[in-house]
């Protein structure tokens, strides 16, 4: 158990000394997961709205499918993206494999189902009279959407929190398409907090893993405080 205490001390040390390696890894984690969350939000919200407010055959099945994809293992997502972007894959020419971009793509795909699903339930929770009121006030489709989202902002932002949490904490996809590379230049490296944690763990450096885990949670705390602030506005 002393590893946990060690982990805390180590985390404190890493943070107060601005350990350059850890700072770079943390920054990369933030950038990648943040970008993935934003992209996923931009897709999931309109998609979720279209599904929730639309009436079409197979709607229930689609919702079921989305819910099923909550269980998509990160490794499978990683593999699929890997096959698509590896040199011999259809998008191989983009040379995305083992780049931060690839990791963003993988995390976006990974969190899309859950964010779409949670968007659907957030929107379905809005009082039907609110929806009718917006329509009756002459909202265009876009105005309607924006205002329903405002009403559902608490739940929508909760879904963003879930998405971000899943993105920044996943490792399977990140390692497969990113490769956990520690190169000397920031841009060529793909080591993020979770892949670094995996590595430290596989090397048996438990305290170091825990320290990195704490750094990750501190980042998550910051993001969540920001989200909560917006939620309660």
């Amino acid at each position: 158990m002393y590893e946990i205490i060690e982990g805390f001390l180590e985390a404190a040390r890493l943070i107060v000394t601005f350990d350059p390696d850890v700072m770079a890894i943390a920054a990369r984690s933030i950038i990648i997961s943040f970008t993935a969350t934003i992209i996923a939000t931009l897709i999931a919200v309109p998609l979720g709205a279209a599904i929730n407010f639309g009436t079409f055959p197979g709607k229930k099945n689609l919702v079921n499918l989305i819910q099923t994809l909550y269980s998509l293992p990160t490794v499978i997502v990683g593999l699929l993206i890997f096959l698509l972007i590896s040199r011999v894959g259809p998008f191989g020419f983009l040379r995305l494999l083992f780049t931060p971009t690839a990791m963003i793509v993988a995390q976006t795909v990974l969190i899309l189902p859950i964010m779409t699903g949670l968007t659907i339930s957030a929107l379905s929770g809005v009082d039907p009279v609110i929806r009718d009121t917006l329509r009756s006030l002459g909202a265009t489709r876009l105005q309607f959407l924006v205002n329903v989202l405002k009403e559902a902002r608490f739940a929508i932002l909760a879904s963003v929190a879930v998405g971000f949490g899943r993105a920044i904490s996943e490792v399977g996809a990140a390692i497969l398409v990113g490769g956990n590379i520690a190169a000397s230049s920031f841009a060529s490296s793909t080591r993020v907090l979770t892949t670094a944690i995996s590595l430290e763990t596989s090397m048996g450096n438990i305290s170091q893993s825990i320290a990195l885990g704490i750094v990750l949670l501190i980042i998550a705390l910051g993001v969540n405080l920001a989200i909560t602030t917006v939620q309660h506005r």
Partner: protein, 359 residues
């Protein structure tokens, strides 16, 4: 201007509207009254394009509003609606009222001004910064009213807009509706369960019953000449007596109601089964004076069976073979020394009796 052409609507197996036909004129205040569950809200929602009729059409200025999805937005923007259970957006009162203006791209300063005015109009000046969710029932309803009115719609749809309000607020809102209708020429359609409100405000009233208009007419027509027994009951005519026409001479008839003979205005031939509708306000109660006779009116002797307070009045029920109720001021009731069990005479004119054919 707004035309209902055999509009029908059902939810699953529940047939709510079976064939609503009628017209609302431009600039008119039209009231829809009808029992709970008659489909008043459903009809208003159909007009506001919030639902689609199962059959028939609603036309505004000749345009079938449900036919062309492309035009939905522009049709809707002609209208403002206040829902029966209004919901407020989870933001400030000001923001709530401003929503419709923002949708229409009205400038910030203009929006601020209009919003303030609208809040003042509904008596909520100074409430602007309150969070709308914390308002009382009546306050919310007024916010919803301000929100619908501020966009100055051509057609204002109000679904029981004063249901949660006290009389002072009701009077204020009614004034407002009348003013908007008069000053801006807004067509107003509202549903209410307060018949007197319908009458106070409406140019015309539609009585929605069993999925269709049982009667459409001016308040006076509806209240004094109900088209059926059901309408009569609904508009508060307390005395409805069944009988058969036994005599008839130009315009008046004698109707036999279980042995008691009642003179009534009636166009119906002998032998016709009719319901006689007599407003309790048209009935006077007099001390019993035996042997009095009249040729033209009705004087029926009877026994007082109940005296019930009602507003500043007393409602007195007299058994004259069938029960008849009258409304007296407390003072009059005292002067006449009316008490349960006492003998009195019930006096009313033949013109006060409205006969309808039994359906």
């Amino acid at each position: 201007m707004i035309e209902f052409d055999n509009v029908s609507k059902n939810f699953g197996d529940t047939r709510v509207l079976t064939g609503v036909t009628g017209e609302v004129n431009r600039g008119e205040i039209f009231t829809v009254i009808g029992p709970s569950g008659a489909g008043k809200s459903t009809l208003l929602r159909l007009i506001d394009l919030l639902d689609v009729p199962a059959g028939g059409a609603i036309r505004i200025n000749g345009l079938d509003i449900h036919a062309d999805k492309e035009k939905s937005l522009s049709v809707r923007r002609m209208m403002g609606m206040v829902f029966q259970k209004p919901a407020v957006f989870n933001t400030t009162v000001t923001e709530n009222v401003a929503v419709g203006l923002r949708f229409r791209g009205v400038s910030k300063s203009e929006t601020r001004k209009l919003t303030e005015d609208a809040l003042a109009m509904v008596g909520l000046a100074g409430y602007g910064e309150r969070r709308a969710r914390t308002l009382s029932g009546g306050e919310m309803q007024r916010v919803a009213l301000a929100r619908a009115m501020v966009i100055e719609p051509e057609i204002l749809l109000l679904d029981e807009p004063t249901a949660n309000l006290d009389p002072v607020s009701v009077a204020m809102i009614e004034d407002l509706v009348v003013r908007i209708n008069r000053d801006l020429g807004t067509t107003v359609i509202f549903s209410t369960h307060d018949m007197y409100q319908g009458q106070r405000l409406a140019h015309r009233i539609g009585v929605l019953m069993d999925g269709a208009f049982a009667q459409v007419g001016t308040p006076r027509e509806v209240f004094t000449l109900p088209a059926s027994r059901e309408v009569a009951r609904f508009v508060g005519i307390e005395n409805i007596v069944e009988g058969v026409v036994v005599e008839r001479e130009d315009g008046t008839a004698v109707v036999d109601a279980g042995g008691v003979r009642v003179r009534a205005r009636s166009p119906f031939p002998r032998g016709e089964r009719v319901s006689l509708c007599i407003r309790s306000e048209e009935i006077r109660i007099a001390p019993a004076i035996r042997g009095r006779r009249v040729s033209d009116g009705n004087i029926l002797p009877g026994t007082v069976t109940a005296v019930v307070p009602r507003g500043p009045f007393s409602r007195v029920t007299v058994d004259c073979g069938f029960p008849l109720s009258s409304v007296l001021s407390w003072k009059a009731a005292e002067d006449l020394d009316i008490r349960e069990g006492g003998r009195v005479e019930v006096v009313f004119a033949a013109e006060s009796v409205h006969a309808v054919r039994q359906g």
